[in-house]
């Protein structure tokens, strides 16, 4: 019985808690991708770098606050800086739209052209982020590191295994829930949100209604700025910030959006968790959990790790391929433009 509890705690500590937190971050990232796809009808390759940009600005503002001695108690100062990061990112995205995407929209450019355009934007943002904050890794999490440490948990429960709950995990999950609830309220209950859904449902018809397409596009970029920056900051608080890592996040984020069904916000969230849980499950060494659960004679000698962590991106890719083979429009029905 105690072994069983230990196994559960180990599972929570190494698989479920980290995957939930990572899943929430991917979900927020994928929501941004899916909104752009639904409204502007292209896959935005610059999304990873948009997240990096928003996070970089947030880090700069965090440092500024820290130098002024402003803190947020046990919570990271970055949360105070987040609105500023979002605002600056929103300006960047609106500026990019004005200078780049609007031109192609007027030309009625094909989605594939917009994808390539977004790659160009990606390279520019890539450079911009490195210019603003450099290429090194930055740790900007301050405040309390743990809600409960492994030792505290062990002392509390008397179990051999400890469950550490980090502040960043709790913040990630709570923030993600608030952001998602607000987004869905906006999309379903407000007229602006309905305009966006109308645009996503049927662009031809939306243009023939009183809906102002440029306003819908603007609101979309604002939401994307908020989602991308929040996702980036949460990821950075949880792990660390490094521009290259954010660029790499593009794959699991796209995998999440596509697996869930591109253009479908609920799908993006589902996809985020599917990808995160698969990635963690496949790269976790199950030896410990199995040792608790199996009789001593059957206890594994090896690590029982299906894939080394170096291959974690391969997991996203594999899920993507498998889901597309069986459900080409994603788990929940998305668009297939």
């Amino acid at each position: 019985m105690v072994d069983f509890l230990n196994a559960i705690v180990a599972l929570l500590n190494y698989v479920i808690v980290p995957a939930t937190s990572y899943g929430a971050q991917l979900a927020l990232g994928a929501l941004g991708v899916t909104l752009i796809y639904g409204i502007l009808r292209f896959s935005n390759f610059a999304h990873g770098d948009t997240m990096a940009f928003g996070t970089a600005i947030t880090i700069l503002v965090t440092w500024l606050f820290q130098s002024w001695g402003i803190g947020f108690g046990p919570l990271p100062t970055a949360l105070l800086a987040l609105p500023f990061g979002i605002a600056v990112t929103a300006l960047l995205l609106l500026g990019t739209d004005r200078m780049v995407y609007r031109f192609y929209r007027r030309q009625k450019a094909a989605p594939v052209i917009l994808v390539i355009v977004s790659m160009g934007v990606m390279f520019i943002m890539n450079g911009l982020v490195r210019f603003v904050i450099g290429v090194q890794e930055q740790n900007f999490a301050d405040g309390a590191r743990f809600v409960i440490t492994a030792t505290q948990f062990r002392n509390l429960t008397g179990l051999d295994e400890g469950l550490a709950v980090r502040t960043s995990t709790v913040i990630t999950v709570v923030t993600a829930v608030i952001v998602v609830a607000a987004l869905f309220w906006f999309l379903n209950k407000t007229r602006s949100g309905k305009s966006m859904r109308a645009f996503s449902d049927n662009e031809d018809l939306a243009l023939l209604s009183g809906i102002n397409p440029e306003r819908v596009v603007m609101i979309t970029w604002l939401l994307v700025a908020a989602l991308a920056t929040t996702a980036g900051v949460l990821y950075g608080l949880d792990k660390s910030f490094k521009p290259f890592t954010y660029y790499q996040l593009l794959l699991p984020i796209f995998a999440s959006a596509v697996v869930g069904g591109l253009g479908n916000p609920v799908g993006a969230i589902l996809g985020g968790f599917v990808v995160a849980f698969s990635e963690v499950t496949f790269t976790y060494a199950w030896k410990k959990v199995l040792t608790y659960l199996l009789p001593a004679s059957l206890a594994p000698d090896s690590l029982v790790q299906l894939l080394s962590t170096d291959y974690k991106f391969a997991v996203s890719f594999a899920i993507l391929v498998v889901v597309l083979l069986f459900k080409p429009t994603g788990l929940l029905k998305g668009k297939s433009v």
């Binding site: 602006s192 305009s195 049927n202 939306a206 009183g210």
Partner: protein, 262 residues
């Protein structure tokens, strides 16, 4: 009201609209007929700003409106419906109608947060109007259904309903009766006449049902192979040799083709 001058629309080497010139008089219900593939829908698409013309001009009340976006034309009171009904699938039928009027308070983020009362009042008025339109079209019972789930004929009615949510000047109806049963078709016909009489809408109607055209439309314009073939009263058109040939001739040509391949 609408003047089309020597309009061309080419798809590659194919001339879908090939030098069409016509006029739609203010206050009229103009019929537009022609065999399948005559270029009627393409002509609508160009007039309504969905496709850019290859050459030619479209004037509305003397003003050049060629190349304006559908959104800009909507603001000028030019509305159209689609041959294959379009709808906002994720919304209810009532919500579909409520999306139509422009410049609603709720469209700006500022108002969304700070003028909740004004938005709510406006939405109530719109919902009431939408319900009246649905009642008029005899589909009140569908108000809360998802628009993606209603039948093809019902979607056609929804298309017409959309044009009744605002004060339009001219409405282009593309086969508004296709897939609609006879009784409903009469209802639609009555609706068109009423909108024309009571609200002063000008209509241009594409329809294959000649009874319907004959009952409502004057004048009738006939298109064939991208050109305007004839124009006149319905009775006059139906006796026109060229028109009969355009319809039958194509049918015969197709028949011989089919015979050759068989």
């Amino acid at each position: 009201m609408i003047v089309v001058e020597d309009l061309h629309k080419h798809f590659g080497g194919f001339h879908a609209v090939d030098g069409a010139s016509l006029e739609i008089r203010k206050g009229s219900i103009t019929g537009l007929i022609g065999p399948n593939g005559a270029g009627k829908t393409t002509l609508f698409n160009v007039i309504a700003g969905r496709l850019p013309p290859t050459s030619g001009r479209v004037l509305m009340d003397g003003e050049d409106i060629t190349g304006l976006t559908p959104h800009e034309l909507f603001h000028k009171g030019l509305l159209r419906t689609f041959q294959i009904a379009h709808e906002f699938g994720s919304m209810t039928v009532r919500e579909n109608l409520m999306m139509v009027p422009a410049r609603q308070h709720g469209e700006t983020l500022w108002n969304t947060w700070f003028r909740r009362g004004a938005i709510a009042a406006q939405e109530r008025a719109l919902a009431k109007k939408a319900d009246e339109v649905l009642e008029f079209l005899t589909i009140s019972h569908l108000a809360n259904q998802k628009a993606s789930q209603i039948s093809g004929g019902q979607k056609k009615l929804l298309e017409l309903g959309r044009t009744m949510m605002v004060e339009a000047k001219i409405v282009f109806l593309d086969e508004v009766g296709a897939g609609v049963n006879r009784t409903l078709l009469n209802t639609i016909g009555d609706a068109i006449v009423r909108l024309n009489k009571e609200r002063g809408y000008t209509f241009c109607v594409i329809e294959h049902d000649m009874d319907f055209i004959g009952r409502l439309c004057d004048p009738v314009i006939v298109m064939a192979e991208g050109k305007v073939l004839a124009q006149g009263s319905a009775a006059h058109i139906m006796e026109n040799e060229a028109v009969i040939e355009a319809y039958l001739g194509r049918g015969l040509k197709n028949k011989t083709k089919a015979g050759a391949t068989a």
